[in-house]
Symmetry: C2
Subunit: 228 residues, 2 copies
């Protein structure tokens, strides 16, 4: 039944526009040239169409960014994570988000700019379940996930800013952090003793390890709060 002319007229031409194709092209553009690389003109050129065509499928640039972000987050959060303990699961999920934002820095700011929307909800849900399993009482669950999410977003945002800044100056991340470290160690010793003392370790740090330190701090804190 679904063949011949009838099917043909319902089907999209292979190269026609669709929200999915637009989102995929956006991701490619964002990954290759950063947040400011995503323009309707560049996008429509890549899709061999006019800028106006995109508006038939997507309401605004903001929506487009959120949709692109959601595509990445959905992939990341749908990956199976079956670790032994709830804490290990939370760690694994947090790390997965860290890696996703590291690979797609623009996801960090996109997530922040879409509070309460689908991408955030995916993360909230996925982290919330093991949190419940941890035994955090109902009244404390919101504040606890919220804190974990904020931390993940915070680190993600700073990571994105670091890579963005580095790229802007034509350096790689390591060189950029080394430069910051140098500036820090030349600060006034009376005004900035702590920053100076920590400068060298900052440039030598492993982002992923540091990220987990924060997660563990919070997970340990959950234990304390529960009187363990």
């Amino acid at each position: 039944m679904r063949q011949g002319k009838k099917a043909r007229s319902t089907q999209r031409r292979e190269d026609s526009l669709s929200p999915d194709r637009i989102v995929e092209a956006s991701i490619a553009l964002l990954d290759s040239s950063g947040e400011k690389g995503l323009t309707f003109r560049a996008l429509s050129e890549r899709l061999a169409t006019g800028p106006g065509a995109i508006y038939w499928h997507i309401a605004s640039k903001n929506d487009l960014l959120t949709a692109a972000c959601d595509a990445i987050v959905a992939r990341t959060m749908s990956a199976p994570v079956d670790d032994a303990t709830p804490k290990a699961t939370i760690r694994a999920l947090a790390l997965a988000m860290f890696d996703a934002i590291d690979a797609h820095p623009w996801v960090g700011s996109a997530l922040t700019r879409a509070p309460g929307q689908l991408p955030m909800v995916r993360v909230l849900e996925r982290i919330g379940q093991p949190l419940r399993a941890l035994g955090v009482p109902d009244e404390e669950q919101w504040a606890t996930v919220s804190a974990l999410l904020s931390y993940i977003l915070g680190v993600g945002g700073q990571n994105a800013a670091n890579t963005h800044f580095a790229r802007e100056q034509g350096l790689d991340r390591t060189n950029f952090l080394n430069e910051v470290s140098t500036v820090w160690s030349q600060l006034d010793p009376d005004e900035y003793p702590f920053t100076r003392s920590v400068a060298r370790r900052m440039s030598a740090h492993d982002d992923r390890v540091d990220f987990l330190v924060g997660i563990d701090l919070m997970l340990d804190g959950i234990g304390v709060a529960r009187g363990r």
Copy 2:
């Protein structure tokens, strides 16, 4: 000696431009009409000059935003906080930053976008000192402040996003959060049980209290890490 023509020629006319005046006008603009309200045209109109004039004093819009951010952060971090214990001091400093970002939402994103620069360093230094007093060993100090900072930035960013979104839709924060809560409680029960269960508490929450929950989680975690 410093009078008459000589002084006059060195002195600025009272209404002449200066980095300080530009930054103050920028803050006013940012507070009243948000991040997208800060344009060189609006700014130069407010300062009764041309757009080009500003570039004599400030290198770029990015620098301007960072300078405005730094003015707020400097004020916030220079306020005296003499609490009994190091933990209480960290709490008070974190809360001061929370309140500053709450009053000036744009500071959140500006801070994130200026990694390793002066505004961040001020916060780093101020929180680092009590952290050292807490007895956190040298090797762990960077990762620990870094985690606290990331959390503060993360919460600040989300707060900024919430107020921005609310403003965009012509709602106040409370109404905006209520709307989000409603959407959440209508999500699919099989796919989003946790989000649904937490929806009501989310809209009823007190941002400041939730913020402190996260800080305390981390401070408690520091205790655990040190074997206390």
